[in-house]
C-alpha cells in the first residue's frame, strides 16, 4: 500500500541538519519504505545524507511517499513533524 502526502516546510531554518536527523529517525521507525521528494529530486527518507541534499528551505514543498504496512501512519507522523516545525520554536 502506498500513501502520499505533500507538506510545506514552515520553520525558520528549514530542513537543516538537526531537523533532517529528526525526520530520518522518525522515518526509520516505520517498516515501510519512505521517500521524500522536492522539485523532482527524490531521497530515501531513512538516509540523513539524502534528506540533507534536498536542501528543503522554509517555504519549500515536500512530498512524502510511503509504501508498506504502516504507510499511512508514516505519512501522517512525518507530516505532523514538519507541521510542528520539527519541534522548534520558530
Amino acid at each position: 500500500m502506498t500513501q502520499v502526502g505533500t507538506f510545506t516546510i514552515i520553520n525558520e531554518l528549514g530542513m537543516h541538519a538537526r531537523a533532517a536527523a529528526k525526520l530520518v529517525k522518525l522515518a526509520g521507525s516505520f517498516s515501510s519504505t519512505v521517500q521524500l521528494e522536492k522539485e523532482g529530486q527524490v531521497a530515501d527518507a531513512k538516509s540523513v545524507m539524502g534528506v540533507l541534499l534536498l536542501c528543503g528551505a522554509k517555504g519549500s514543498s515536500v512530498t512524502v511517499r510511503a509504501t508498506g504496512e504502516d504507510a499511512s501512519e508514516a505519512v501522517e507522523k512525518i507530516g505532523a513533524l514538519i507541521a510542528d516545525r520539527f519541534g522548534e520554536p520558530r
Binding site: G28, T33, Q35, G40, Q41, V42, A43, D44, K46, S47, V48, M49, G50, L52, L53, C55
Partner: protein
Amino acid sequence: MTERTSSLAPANSIPVSQLLRVKEVASLTRLVAGATGLSRPIAHPRIQKSGLVLVGHSVGIVPSRVQILGETEISYLESLDAETRAARARGLFQLALSLVVVTRGVAPLPELLAAARETETPLVISSARSSRTISALHGALDVLLAPQETVHGVLIDVHGIGTLLCGPSGIGKSECALFLVERGHRLVADDQVILKRDPSGTIIGEPPALLRHHLEVRGVGILNVRELFGATAVRERCEVQLVIELRPGSSASPDRLGLDPQVERVLATEIPKLEIPVQPGRNMAVILEVAARNELLKRAGFDAAERFVARLEQATGVAGDGPRNDSEE
C-alpha cells in the same frame, strides 16, 4: 529488485548560457548579440553547419542544435549584394535557433548582427577556426548533455575497480565503505551517487558537491573522510565497473558458484553485478575486496569458476569442450 532510486531526470536540454560558461568554450567565444535569448535550450550534443540555409534550403535544421557559420559560409554571404545578404541572414535567424556561432574571429557581418538582435538569437564569435571551435563545443556538450541519474548507494574505488554498493537503508553500505577506506581504498560517494554516461558508454560516478568526502556512520555521525584519512582515501569520481547489491542474509539466495554472471543495466550500459548476503560473522570488507580482485582477474581473462568447471570435467571424464554453462543437460 534493487533499491535504486532515480532522482535527477536525464539532462536532455541545457540553456545556452550554461554552455557558454564552460571554460573551454568561454575562452574561445564572446557574445555579440542576442543576450536576451541565453535561456534558449540546446538539446543535441552535436553541432550543425547551417550553410545550406543561406542558399534557401532550410530542411533538417534543428533549432536546438548549435549552428556553425564558418569561413565558407561567411565568404558566401559576402559575395551577395547587401539586400540579398540581409534577406538570407533573416531567413536563417527566423528559424528560432538557440545559438549561432561564427568561427575564426571574423567580425560579424552587420546583417547577421541585425538579424540576431531582431530575433533575440544569441550570436557568438569564436576566435578559433571551425574545427577547433567544434571540438570544444562537442567536448562541452558531451559532458553537459550526458544522460544521468542519481542512485542511493555508495561508490568506492577498490583496487582500481569502481564498486557501487546498493541495498536497503541500514544494511551497512556506509560501514562497508568505512572498512574499505581503513584498508586503503578510496571513497568516491556515500549515500547519493550521480551516474553519468559518457559517449563511449562508460558510466562515471561522482558525489553531489554538497556531500563530497563525507560519510555518515550510524552512531558516530557525519565524518569527513579526507580530513580523517587523507587525500589518498578519497577520489573525486571514477568509472563504475562493478555493482554489488547487499541483501539481508535471510532474503538472499546467493550464487554459489559464480558461473552465471549477472549484469545491472545502468543508463543503458551493462555492468557486472553480484548479490552478496549480509550476515553476522561475515567480514564484508574482505568479501568486497575479494569481489573486486576477482573482477580484475576476469577482466584480465581469468575466470576462476569456469577454470574450476574445466578441471572438474577433466576429473570426471566428461568431455570438456561443450558449452560450459548448460550443466543441466
